[in-house]
């Protein structure tokens, strides 16, 4: 049932000689929420921008389904305060939209009370909902969200993830999002890709939190609520995130415990 909408094969990207994305391959399917996690500088945003076509990979291929409509929420949207803009006008910009399309998106994220407000006075959570509404306007098949809960308090984060989950259910679109914290995003995600330049492990969120490479990256504390899942990895990381040779008792590779996103 799940057809691919995005395929990345062996993508490599480097900036001024520094490798940022190493040999990354993954597929995105219809009606699936995929979360990219990893430490700062792991290349998550770079990878997402590659999917969006904003960055061209040095090698490897990026395939998108023909006429794939993408809605994008960037990591940080700074609008210069000299630019006068209401929320409604922000939603109307750059696309020919019917009033019902806007009303529909506004209702989805519940921001009808903000439409006449200046965009400069919004709180972090309100801004993220407005950005989400704008991303929904083109009726996208894929929503790309770069840290959608940034600058939002814990309760707001939980609400936003629920909202994203509901949007997926209502519209049947796929979601690719970046997150720092797997625990909050867990209930709203089907597939997790844990990366630090290369893909360390990927699969269902429950599996990922007990994966040694996840524990290496995020520390045991973030995994302590999960039962440990006993296997070893084919490589380790030092503090810089470089790959070290496998410890001798490595028995399983990350590929072997990968799971597809099923529904």
């Amino acid at each position: 049932m799940n057809t691919d909408i995005v395929r990345l094969e062996q993508v490599n990207i480097s900036f001024s000689g520094k490798e940022v994305v190493k040999n990354v391959s993954f597929n995105l399917h219809t009606n699936c929420i995929t979360t990219l996690i990893g430490p700062n500088g792991a290349g998550k945003t770079t990878l997402v921008k590659t999917v969006l076509g904003l960055i061209k990979p040095d090698s490897g291929s990026v395939w998108l389904k023909e006429d794939l409509v993408i809605g994008y929420v960037p990591q940080k949207l700074h609008i210069d305060s000299t630019f006068p803009l209401t929320v409604l006008r922000f939603l109307q910009i750059s696309r020919d939209l019917s009033d019902t399309a806007i009303a529909d998106a506004v209702a989805s994220v519940n921001i009808s009370n903000l439409l006449q407000s200046s965009i400069h006075g919004l709180s972090g959570g309100e801004m993220q909902r407005v950005l989400l509404a704008r991303a929904l306007l083109g009726n996208p098949q894929l929503l790309v969200l770069d840290e959608p809960v940034q600058g939002v308090d814990i309760n707001g984060q939980i609400e936003l993830y629920q909202l994203i989950s509901e949007i997926r259910k209502q519209r049947g679109c796929s979601v690719l999002m970046i997150s720092h914290d797997l625990h909050l995003v867990m209930s709203a995600t089907d597939h997790v890709i844990c990366m630090n330049q290369h893909i360390c492990c990927s699969g269902h969120p429950e599996k990922i939190t007990s994966d040694p490479s996840y524990i290496d990256l995020f520390g045991a504390a973030s995994a302590k609520t999960m039962a440990l899942y006993a296997h070893h990895h084919n490589h380790d990381h030092n503090l810089h995130g470089d790959v070290l040779p496998a410890s001798p008792n490595a028995t399983l590779t990350s590929e072997q415990h990968q799971q597809e996103c099923n529904h």
């Binding site: 994008y72 960037p74 949207l77 000299t82 630019f83 006068p84 006008r89 750059s94």
Partner: protein, 264 residues
């Protein structure tokens, strides 16, 4: 009391102010005022080249500004020098190069002050034609590309994902600014052109709730500054450019000092 030259200057000034409103708004939104300055300085190089090779001054200035705008866009892609440093180098180099070149032209009688600060008497019917052509071209392009330019100004990546060709729009905006600077030079002069772009737009900001309103209001306030400034220049025999800028500043000050409710 109206003389032809004053009428020409008023028509030319109003024409320039109308175009400078929306373009100046982009300069303010995108923090490009130093870019405008650099291009204006290079206009003097255009004057020098035009006189030296005996080609039409308007064409020489326009071509020089357009070429330097393209050069700037190309050089911004390198990462060794920050853009503001680059702009500073280009602004003062081209100004100096222009002044040095002009000093070599012995037989030509050149009123340098007129080029630096603008001159009422310098406006000829031919200049009005250039302002009209340049103005109509820029306003039509702005009208046609407005939604894309606004989207790009809000966020370039978001615009790119939504299908706006950002690099093309950025170059187009810079070329339009270069063109307006080139045709506006005779009225306000090389050193003061940027103020005609940014002061009316900055004055319009606190009174505007939408980008369109700000652009339109900037045009109107610019026209008011031009009319007041040029009439004062005629009445008190003050230099045209500085008089227009002082008028624009007075409008700016009164808007900002005027008590009002919460800002947007």
């Amino acid at each position: 009391m109206f003389y032809d030259f004053l009428l020409y200057a008023l028509l030319g000034g109003v024409g320039v102010a109308l175009v400078a409103g929306p373009l100046g708004s982009f300069v303010v939104w995108r923090r490009m005022s130093y870019f405008g300055d650099s291009l204006a300085h290079s206009a003097l190089l255009g004057v020098a080249i035009g006189i030296f090779f005996e080609i039409n001054l308007n064409i020489a200035i326009i071509v020089c500004c357009l070429l330097l705008a393209i050069l700037l866009v190309a050089m911004q892609k390198q990462h060794f020098i920050a853009t503001d440093t680059l702009l500073g180098i280009m602004a003062h180099s081209s100004l100096s190069l222009g002044l040095v070149t002009i000093s070599f032209i012995e037989d030509a009688r050149i009123d340098l002050m007129a080029f630096l600060f603008g001159d009422l008497l310098a406006i000829l019917p031919e200049d009005l034609l250039w302002i009209l052509l340049g103005g109509v071209l820029v306003l039509s392009l702005l009208y046609y590309y407005w939604p894309q330019m606004i989207a790009m100004t809000i966020n370039e990546e978001l615009a790119a994902v939504e299908g706006v060709s950002v690099a093309k729009m950025r170059l187009l905006l810079m070329l339009m600014i270069a063109l307006v600077i080139a045709v506006a030079m005779k009225i306000v002069g090389v050193l003061l052109i940027t103020s005609l772009l940014i002061i009316p737009a900055a004055s319009a900001r606190p009174l505007s709730r939408s980008p369109e309103k700000m652009a339109l209001l900037a045009s109107l306030l610019g026209c008011a500054a031009v009319v007041i400034g040029l009439l004062a220049s005629f009445e008190f025999d003050t230099p045209a450019g500085p008089s227009v800028v002082v008028a624009a500043m007075a409008i700016f000050m009164s808007i900002y000092l005027w008590p009002r409710k919460a800002s947007h």
